[in-house]
């Protein structure tokens, strides 16, 4: 079970360090693991390892389409490939290769797309994927995670590389709020209830978990009791956990660092519409392209803050 230690403070470790360390630990513990990157090793701390072990950590250069195909070929040879690049290049740039050379062809690969959504910050709109989840959701049987904190990342990556099919992890490289204690266990496809409530359910993933927990605290001061679920697995969606909470609260708010089209909000609405129609709303990007700026500015600009969640929650419960 995950042990929750959230108090609003930042994780003492950056994702950047933990991503690289976790990959290297897997390479050292399992000779079948192999890691490919498209000239972004230095951004997750794996370049030095590559220099020492160029056959285990392979630098493909700036060629994401080729990287995904080579990863597929390595899978066919009996390896468990991990491929990393920034989110936009891990999704829309190389989508056809992931879809066909990995998914359709039956070559199981794990893709790490760093700097999702507004986490791309100073790299700006060209590097800012608000659509990566939508693309990966359309790959049959793909697994998609949006990571909450470093403990979750280092616990889930070893599980993910053993899963069949295409696996996609979106994760930032800076510090998120610390939510889970060391040693917490996570199960792909099983959401985590971070806070109990009765008036509405806030479903969040990635950087929006911190915003959701802060919003829930503000709402409770107003007498609105929000339940908060960490839906870190976007696909396969934890429909059982969603319905259990939705039936109790009667209103569902989804908070995600992604276009409102095709991501977690869409997945939740699809499940609710079929199983248990429930008033729903989202705090997500309103079908826009990204732009440049510091992450806190971008969260304001695209409406991804605790204040936005509070506002949307207040409006949502009136629709119950």
């Amino acid at each position: 079970m995950p042990k929750i230690v959230y108090d609003g403070s930042l994780d003492p470790r950056t994702f950047k360090d933990v991503i690289g360390q976790t990959i290297i630990r897997l390479l050292e513990s399992d000779p079948d693991v192999i890691y490919v990157d498209a000239d972004l090793m230095s951004t997750i701390g794996t370049y030095k390892y590559h220099q020492e072990h160029p056959d285990r950590a392979i630098n493909m250069g700036v060629s994401e389409a080729n990287m995904m195909g080579v990863a597929g070929g390595l899978a066919a040879s009996g390896f468990k490939p991990i491929a990393h690049t920034f989110g936009p290049f891990a999704s829309r740039r190389s989508f056809d290769q992931v879809f066909l050379s990995a998914g359709y062809a039956g070559n199981d690969i794990t893709v790490i797309g760093t700097d999702p959504g507004v986490c791309a910050a100073f790299n700006g709109g060209t590097h800012m994927p608000f659509e990566d989840v939508a693309l990966y959701r359309a790959i049959p049987t793909a697994t998609i995670l949006d990571i909450t904190d470093t403990v979750m990342f280092k616990t889930l990556l070893p599980q993910l590389i053993e899963r069949p099919g295409v696996k996609y992890i979106r994760v930032g490289r800076k510090q998120n709020a610390k939510v889970y204690d060391e040693g917490s266990a996570f199960e792909v496809g099983k959401s985590i209830r971070l806070r109990e409530g009765s008036d509405l359910t806030i479903i969040a993933c990635g950087i929006m978990v911190h915003e959701a927990l802060q919003a829930a605290r503000i709402l409770s001061e107003q007498g609105i009791h929000a339940e908060v679920l960490d839906m870190f697995t976007i696909k396969p969606l934890d429909v059982e956990g969603l319905l259990h909470s939705a039936k109790k609260t009667g209103a569902v708010l989804v908070a995600e660092n992604h276009n409102k089209i095709g991501g977690l909000y869409a997945a939740v609405c699809e499940a609710l519409a079929f199983h248990h129609p429930t008033p729903a709303a989202c705090v997500a990007v309103e079908d826009e392209y990204g732009e440049v700026g510091p992450q806190d500015y971008l969260q304001q600009r695209f409406g991804l803050t605790k204040e936005h969640i509070v506002q949307v929650a207040q409006d949502l419960i009136k629709r119950k």
Binding site: N66, G69, V70, A71, G73, S77, L100
Partner: protein, 284 residues
């Protein structure tokens, strides 16, 4: 396995016949590109590839990736003649539920080493497999067939650059330079200039041969054994539709829907050729 040129010529004709009979059974298909590559497939499956039809996934085997996946009918004919499955099976080409789709699918057809069809993608997959075999310490060779039209795509050049940088000398790229793509002549649509010069510049050990001559293709593939430290490229100067004069002379021969009596005529031409050939029955 055989180095007997007459036997390989006969095998090439049998592959052509199999491809045409499969296409005949469905009524339409990728005629031109299946015929142009038949001689190369005959050399690979007749004389070169260390494979075991009874154990298609034997990890130490040599591999063949036909990145121009639309040559599926010719690949299926070669695999059937090699003994992977009964010859009659390939006559289900493109029928509902078939294991013989127009483009090669490793999940459906025994002996197909990689799924291809979206042009360019087979190159990276083959390079990844060749690299994987080397890293696993296997003494396996990879033969990658690409089309000339396919090389309009950018991805193969990423894959070739990487293969040379990795010094993948277990990889041989066979470029089926049959001069035509779907809409017309390759040189008219997006002129690639010299494939041989390009591959040489990319760092490949490069040869150019008459690709519809089993002798020349065999000699070129064997010559690759002597060159270490670089991947190999063989530009196959071929004719799209090779082996059936009427197809060769048809401008638009990529995908064809011949009248039943026309394709029956082609099948008869190939049967007559085979009956007149020496070389006996091909022994897988």
């Amino acid at each position: 396995m055989t180095n007997n040129v007459n036997a390989l010529k006969k095998l090439a004709a049998q592959i052509r016949l199999g491809a045409m009979e499969a296409i005949q059974a469905r009524g339409f298909g990728h005629v031109g590109g299946s015929l142009s590559v038949a001689d190369t497939l005959a050399v690979l499956y007749g004389a070169i590839l260390r494979v075991d039809p009874n154990n298609p996934k034997w990890p130490e085997r040599d591999k063949m990736v036909c990145s121009k996946g639309h040559a599926g009918p010719a690949v299926y004919a070669a695999l059937a003649l090699k003994g992977y499955f009964p010859y009659e099976d390939i006559l289900t080409l493109n029928q509902p539920g078939t294991n013989f789709p127009s483009h090669c699918d490793r999940k459906k057809t025994p002996g197909v080493d990689m799924t291809t069809g979206s042009l360019g993608q087979g190159t990276s997959l083959a390079v990844g497999m060749a690299l994987g075999d080397r890293l696993k310490g296997r003494d396996s060779r990879m033969y990658l067939i690409v089309g000339d039209g396919e090389l309009n795509e950018g991805q193969p050049w990423e894959a070739f650059m990487f293969a040379a940088a990795q010094k993948l000398d277990n990889l041989t790229v066979l470029i089926d330079w049959n001069k035509k793509q779907l809409d017309g002549f390759v040189a008219d649509i997006n002129d690639p200039q010299s494939f041989a010069a390009k591959m040489e510049a990319f760092g490949f050990h490069t040869q150019q041969v008459k690709g519809n001559s089993v002798e020349e293709v065999l000699r070129a593939i064997q010559a690759c054994e002597e060159v270490k430290g670089r991947p190999h490229a063989i530009v196959l100067d071929t004719i799209k539709g090779a082996g059936i004069k009427e197809v060769e002379d048809t401008f638009s021969n990529h995908s064809m829907t011949p009248k039943p009596e026309v394709i029956q005529g082609w099948v008869q031409i190939l049967r007559d050729q085979i009956a007149a050939m020496d070389g006996g029955v091909f022994d897988a």
